[in-house]
């Protein structure tokens, strides 16, 4: 018994193994993107050297342009690859033959699902953020230097936004709001995908396999979106950026007078989707635990 393993936290082990399973492919795209950014940086640096001949400059300019175009393409592909893995890993590791191992691990279905949601939700959020950053960064650079329009740098845009906020508290609140909204939407998407795949593997739908999950996904997404909108009609909670540099949370009522000229951010849809996510988590765990039939 000397070689017996030490006790390990099983949930951490799930996170570790889900990360390793996904990183082996997704990380290749990040590495490619990092190399393209490095190439872009090197080309930008070389182009600033005055003593270079026109011929060399033209070659550098070509590589530069290619690095911009390819990095935008790779960042776009990154979203598709990450989405593919969100679906593929969940399907393959739980409902394929690998399910015979996954479902007999000494962990609960809550832990199995929780680990996948955390790892793949995070990958999707990061990939989307990287795509947005790449498109913005490369796009503004192209506008600045290739198209020749007035310089719009990332820093300048941020400064413009900063200037519009009367206080740092409001700026932080805005950043937190946007981040929470972004993450809730990404995770809601992952939850609906996972529930649709799980439901497609109950005995009655099993013969259709993944195909059945497509209409389930769209129906659920439409219903939940309508539900979140309906909730906003019933109780419209929003965050108000007041003129006196403060922030307040209010419920919009008929005839209510809002003094602020600045900004109102709706909170009800976020709360609705958080509630839906919690419901989806327990519903998916239940289906995985009780109703799924492995072939």
């Amino acid at each position: 018994m000397t070689g017996v393993s030490k006790k390990k936290n099983k949930f951490l082990m799930l996170l570790k193994n889900d990360f390793l399973a996904s990183a082996r492919v997704i990380s290749l795209f990040y590495i490619a993107l990092a190399l393209l950014f490095a190439l872009f940086g090197i080309c930008t640096g070389i182009a600033k050297i005055d003593s270079l001949s026109v011929e060399v400059l033209n070659k550098v300019s070509t590589v530069h342009t290619v690095s911009i175009a390819v990095s935008m393409l790779v960042s776009f592909l990154l979203i598709f690859v990450t989405f593919f893995f969100v679906v593929y890993d969940f399907f393959k590791s739980l409902f394929g033959q690998q399910g015979y191992l996954s479902f007999t691990l000494p962990v609960s279905s809550h832990q199995l699902l929780g680990s996948k949601v955390i790892i793949y939700g995070s990958w999707l959020a990061i990939s989307y953020a990287v795509f947005m950053f790449t498109v913005y960064f490369m796009g503004t650079y192209t506008i600045d230097n290739v198209i020749g329009q007035e310089k719009i740098s990332l820093v300048e845009t941020l400064m413009m936004m900063l200037g519009d906020f009367p206080s740092i508290t409001q700026l932080i609140a805005y950043a937190v709001y946007i981040s929470v909204f972004f993450f809730v939407m990404i995770f809601s998407f992952v939850f609906i995908v996972y529930f649709a795949i799980s439901l497609a593997h109950v005995r009655i739908l099993q013969k259709f396999s993944l195909i059945a999950s497509v209409p389930i996904f769209f129906v659920l997404a439409a219903v939940f979106f309508a539900l979140a909108m309906k909730m906003s009609d019933i109780v419209n909670v929003f965050m108000l950026f007041n003129d006196d540099h403060t922030i307040s949370i209010s419920i919009l009522r008929e005839g209510m007078q809002i003094k602020s000229q600045y900004m109102m951010m709706p909170i009800t849809p976020i709360i609705s989707f958080i509630i839906i996510d919690v419901g989806m988590f327990f519903a998916t765990s239940y289906v995985m635990h009780k109703k799924v039939n492995l072939k």
Binding site: S5, Y100, T104, S108
Partner: protein
């Protein structure tokens, strides 16, 4: 000796098709139990319930004193008929994976066995032959110091030489006091290792007894199996 498996009034159906019908039995720990029955008799469903793959059933099931779930899964080593390892995994990945989840897994012993069975540590599962995949899964299961080993057709689809090898590996590496529940169609090849037999057909327990009682009349387990199923099933 405590019961390692207790099943009371277990029923399982898929729609209108009943695969297990009010089944009750129990087994004390430390035995090798043969789970026998023709195709469609409910063997695989019973195994899936015991290992926690099916949780939607009626009746009471206890494995090592717990309902099939997180606790019982830590005490059960399961070898399914299928290849359950991810195709991208290497032998080393698979060993590390099992070591991450099972506290009773003996990694050193596994590495020694892998070396002896000539399984390359860096070879991916998808490039292995079926025989190599089966060897690897057998190592991963038998290097656990589990309370119960559930082996679903461990010798199905392999040649006679490989059968002997598999059987030898199971018997040599089984920890003292542990229980093995093995389903098989190859009764003749393995019947001498069984202590007890659970024969099921059409979702019912037909025979549940010690091997010495079943063979007291001079018949082999294989003879009894043929007798039971040729009468009731019209074979």
């Amino acid at each position: 000796m405590a019961d390692i498996i207790t099943v009371k009034n277990l029923s399982k159906s898929y729609g209108s098709h009943q695969v297990l019908n009010d089944v009750s039995f129990d087994f004390k720990e430390g035995q090798i139990i043969g789970l026998l029955g023709p195709n469609g008799s409910g063997k695989t469903s019973l195994i899936k319930i015991l290992v926690g793959l099916i949780n939607d059933y009626k009746g009471e099931v206890l494995v090592d004193g717990s309902r099939p779930g997180k606790v019982s899964k830590a005490a059960v080593a399961y070898l399914p008929e299928k290849t359950y390892l991810a195709s991208w995994m290497t032998t080393k990945d698979a060993v590390n994976y099992i070591a991450d989840f099972y506290d009773d897994f003996d990694k050193e012993k596994a590495l020694v066995m892998i070396d002896r069975f000539q399984l390359p540590l860096k070879q991916k599962v998808k490039t292995m032959s079926k025989g190599m995949q089966e060897k690897l899964q057998l190592v991963l299961v038998m290097c656990r110091n589990a309370r119960l080993y559930v082996l679903d057709e461990p010798m199905g689809g392999v040649d006679p030489a490989a059968r002997d090898f598999i059987l030898e590996t199971i018997l040599k590496n089984r920890p003292e006091g542990s229980t093995i529940l093995m389903s098989t169609h190859l009764i003749q090849d393995v019947e001498e290792i069984f202590d007890s037999i659970l024969m099921i057909g059409r979702g019912k327990v037909l025979i549940k007894d010690k091997v010495e009682n079943i063979t007291a009349s001079g018949k082999t387990i294989n003879d009894v199996f043929k007798e039971v199923f040729s009468v009731d099933w019209g074979f």
